[in-house]
């Protein structure tokens, strides 16, 4: 029961977000969600269900119209734009479907840019970037430019950039969406490894196959959470990465109550 024991890194309560229009689009319509440190969560839903909107709110790139958003214990509504920027610089790592790597710059410097807004010196940024590149298996690609890397390697570099600042959690928006299945599998494997190392990862995807590999799946439809299921870990504690979990040992599923707010807000 690791979920409830540790203090959550993310807590949403009854979050609404609507976009103006006729009629207005209710992109998020009362979402409540809690993510504990060390979790690996998939947010799954079809196109248009509100996943990107949710990602933007989790990543503090956008604000909710109503409801409470707590990131790392902080009530986002009370933070200024500058403080939100600080939160992103130090606490949140983003991975995007399109990688968003700078074309003219080496993998090392792309990863080092993950620390650009922390005020560390270039030397220190590069030192940490080199270490993180090794961690995602790109130690031998340090001085390659993005166009000299495969799609999977690019996404691993992008993961390294998100990881280099030791954020509280990683937000990955369709991280395998632009990759072939082999590269996608490699990136998922990497996320699993990070998860095993204690990193909190939230993966947003429309792909049920991808979601099925992850221990917790939050299904979203029309801006509402339809179900939130946690896959009880098999003996090894690893999911989908190996074939050792035989078919006769089906992973058990547990439904999770939507709101876990009984203990009340404790941050700030």
């Amino acid at each position: 029961m690791r979920v409830t024991t540790a203090k959550p890194v993310i807590r949403l309560r009854d979050v609404h977000r609507r976009y103006p229009g006729r009629p207005p689009v209710r992109a998020l319509d009362g979402v409540s969600l809690s993510v504990a440190p060390g979790e690996l969560v998939a947010i799954v839903g079809p196109s248009g269900s509100g996943k990107s909107t949710l990602l933007n709110i989790l990543g503090t790139l956008d604000r909710a119209d109503a409801g409470e958003v707590r990131i790392d214990g902080r009530d986002v509504a009370t933070l200024s734009d500058k403080q939100l920027s600080a939160l992103r610089a130090h606490r949140i790592g983003f991975v995007f479907q399109q990688f968003f790597l700078s074309p003219g710059v080496t993998a090392l410097d792309n990863v080092a840019d993950g620390l650009l807004y922390t005020g560390l010196s270039l030397r220190e940024r590069r030192r940490r970037a080199a270490r993180t590149l090794a961690r995602v298996g790109l130690a031998d690609r340090t001085h390659h430019r993005p166009n000299e890397l495969s799609g999977g390697q690019r996404q691993r570099a992008a993961v390294a950039r998100a990881l280099v600042g030791r954020p509280s959690f990683l937000l990955a928006d369709e991280p395998t969406g632009a990759l072939d299945s082999a590269s996608g599998a490699a990136v998922l494997k990497l996320l699993h490894e990070l998860h095993d190392g204690g990193t909190t990862v939230i993966v947003i995807t429309h792909d049920h196959g991808v979601a099925a590999e992850l221990p917790r799946q939050v299904h979203i439809l029309d801006g509402r959470i339809e179900s939130d299921e946690t896959l009880e870990p098999a003996q090894g504690g690893s999911y989908g990465t190996g074939g050792d979990a035989g078919p006769e040992v089906p992973p058990s599923r547990r439904s999770r109550p939507l709101a876990e707010w009984s203990e009340g807000g404790d941050a700030v």
């Binding site: 203090k7 990107s52 933007n56 990543g59 790139l61 956008d62 790392d72 214990g73 902080r74 933070l79 734009d81 500058k82 403080q83 920027s85 600080a86 939160l87 992103r88 610089a89 130090h90 606490r91 949140i92 983003f94 995007f96 399109q98 968003f100 700078s102 074309p103 003219g104 710059v105 840019d113 993950g114 650009l116 807004y117 922390t118 005020g119 010196s121 270039l122 950039r161 404790d266 941050a267």
Partner: protein, 403 residues
Amino acid sequence: MSRPTDVVSARSRLRPRDTVRVAFSGLRARPLRAVLSALGIAVGIAAMVAVVGISASSREQVNQQLDALGTNLLTVAPSQSFVSEAQLPQESVDMVARLDDVTSVSAVGIVPDAAVYRSDEIDPNQTNAIAVSAARTDLLDTVSATVASGRWLDDVLSAFPVVVLGSETAELLGISRTDGEVQVWLGGEWFTVAGVLDPVPLAPELDTSALIGWPAAESLLGFDGAPTTVYQRVAEGAIDEVRTLLPATVDPAAPEEVAVSRPSDALAAQAATDETLTTLLLALGGVALLVGGIGVANTMVIAVLERRSEVGLRRALGATRAHIRRQFLGESVLLAALGGGGGALLGGAATAAFASSREWPFALPVWVLAGAAGATIVVGALAGAYPAARAARMPPTAALSAV
């Protein structure tokens, strides 16, 4: 309090050096565009630097000339308001020489009704503007004149029909030989050409004169010995004082008929007349700079539109609005500075080329370069202000989704 390693105290921070680095990398991503839009600024700055540089070089040339010639020469002549044939008293030179602060005196006296011709066959009515003047032998030293060829009059030659021509006179008469073989028909006598002078900047009237010895003028042409212009060098500190004393010294009876002038003032004034033109050209350079600035603004607006996703990414990495604004502002200023630097080099080169073609000294005041740098930064900041503000205002979500 619990763990939050205070998010609020752990600020989002971009080092100044990194701001420059980020701004520079933006330019480097599209080098051709950067160079082309910097070119507009370069043209404006080059024009302004060259205009100021050339006029400074010209002024420097005059200053150096004045340094060499000295600014302590005063000239005394009958005031122009009077009759054109007016003369000064015969004893003027001696009177002036007696003044304490006068270091040297010399004079010329126009010989009335004397004209000079290439030969005696030329129609005497075909007058030219050449004045025949008696000159004291110490004239050259006093007015800093030099001999271009041949020799100057000495005490011996002064008594004979020998003439030294001013530079323009020699040209008008078509005479360049000064070996004693050439003679001119002067005041009804044959005079041998002994020398030709270089142009005399402090006494340009000598350029159009034919100078003969004082005794020769008196004995051969009936010259009465009255000077028409007295030249004197004055001790540096006493120029104003001597200037006020001179009229009464030269002509105690009618001091108001004496005009004192300082030829170096005329030279300096001549250099100053360029200033109107300089101002006009400077304004044109300013217009070019303005157009260049609009070009930079245009480039920046396009850059911001094209780089929405970069802005979104940077916001996701933790950039504040201020960081984004500074990045684009920095890029704009760098772009302008690139143009400014290139323009200053170009303008400097143009100045150097122009000055050397005229054999002027090269002069480029430091304030011009400082001004060019300042103008560039201002133009870059103005051009970048709106695009940068626009980039900073872009919501990070819109920036990221617009791919």
